[in-house]
Amino acid sequence: MAMLASTYLFAYNSAMFAAWLYVLCNLAASLSSSFTSTTFEAQHPLLIPQDYLATEPKGSASRPVVPPVTWQKVSDLSFYAKTTYVKPRLIVAYRSIESLAITIQTATILETIHAILRVVRSSPANNFLQWIGRTHVIAVAATLATYVPETKQYTSAEQMPSFHALTALAVVFFWAISECIRYPWAAVKIVADSEFARNIGAIQSLNRVLTWLRYSAFVVLYPAGFLAEEALLIGCLPFAFSRKPYDIAMPNAWNFSFTYSSFLLCVLYAQPVGFFALYIHMFEQRYKKLGGAPSSSGTGDAAAAKQKKRA
């Protein structure tokens, strides 16, 4: 039974690693092809920036057009970019990996199921919270943030397509890198802990390197991913307030109402708390697993000492 479980977990972690690696490669490929394509404009005629600029609503004599709020102008990176094709290209690049990223993220509900079935020792509730938080970001918020700008039907308050696409891409990028460390680490750990690989030096060294990476890379990747998620959700706020997507209004037979903008605000308030708790927890784990040495030179020694003990 234990053998079956670890074989399954090895397969699961390897498959997830492969999937995220594929996303990462695709991301690089589609970004570079978007930006080097000379026929981009012809391929994506709806998205040319001339249309984007033309959507500024015409004012009437009684209500003149107020220039867009400055911070939105400032945060619109294309404002500084000389190339006129930046905005649609980022959205097109995001589209190419969107469905795959959503599918993979949704599939991680399996990790909650593993926790419920006690295949892995972790809390089902925490796992589920993390799953729902991330799935909301990628499947709900990122869709909203990139879909509306793509349609050109946006108001001046929502005008920052490149910003939305950039945050969505950044979220996927940082997740993909983190997962391309976490999954191979988990897969290799299963092999390294088995009887079969106990004396195979190459697997043990690989395990040590990946363990070090697993408990070090987060120092940079977690805050980066967190900031990208926050930027994406903040970017969603104008859409959430003006378009009321996913809202349920009273009256209805089930006597309930839902306001996505309020939900987003709750998430935005709760997210930093969750992030700091997780970040501190990971530092504690790092201290535990890497022997408390803050630098890379010390951790190797600690791992080696542990290895000696085992032998």
Binding site: M250, P251, N252, A253, W254, N255, F256, S257
Partner: protein
Amino acid sequence: MKLVIASRSGRLVVDGGLHIDAGETVDGLLAEMHSLSLKKLVRIPGKPILVPERQRFTLPLVPGAVTADGKKARPVALASGKKLSDYNLKDGDTLHFKDLGQQVGYVTVFFWEYFGPMAVYPLVYYLPKLLYPESMLQNGECPRHPVQAIATAYWSFHFAKRILETFFVHKFSHGTMPIFNLLRNCSYYWAFAAFVSYFVNHPLYTPPPFERSKWALAGAMLMQAGNLYSHVILANLRPKGSKEYRVPRGFLFNYVTCANYTFEILGWLLFNVATQSIPGILFMFAGGYQMTLWAIAKHKRLKRTFDGKEGREKYPRRFIILPPLI
């Protein structure tokens, strides 16, 4: 004799050990620790006064110890009412000490956690103009359906009943709990009361057919009666002052281990049939989930205590909480 008192991580809690007569009781040990803390002789950050309720002593765990069924052994806690000799404590033995933190009485916690919902729900019913925007009201008035009035009465009656039961029916086997539980329980009940009340007393509320609501709430009142009767049975289960376990018998207890929870859950189910709202259904599921966990634990404990071996009573075959499901 001298006992070494240490924290679970091995830090000494009482310098020079705790001197106590070998024939003393566990309560005597708690009292001694209390008086040491009054003299500020206990090494706990902040030098709190350790009343007996906030102390927990456990026997140190033998490394690698396992229980009969092969699971990792849990440390044994010294129980109030027993003697030190019951645990074979000898001179120089070590006891692990844990400060359970500031304690608060069960009655206090129960009163405040039930008082909130009892008061909050009718506030929303009677003062809608303070809560809902002008645009939702009709000519400045909140339209009211009869079901909202009787649901409010039912809700407040339910929590008033719980408060009265706390004072006059329940017998608590523990005296206190950590003060954090007061905050946690109050947040749960107060927030859910506001959540349910906001939607059921909403100006745009859609009532189910009144005939249905009327019968459902009448049924819910019967469930309240059943719940009260179950609590009376539980309170009279053991003789005064005794702490031994008894098999609950009589009424629905002959078929279900936690009949009181059965009535409680059915009561909320009927409340939801009458008022039909998502928040009410969520409240039912949250409460039902917690009660099911408690019921499973109690059922297990009763089955373990009354295993039918060595002349002990055998626990009869019963549902746990919700017949015919579990």
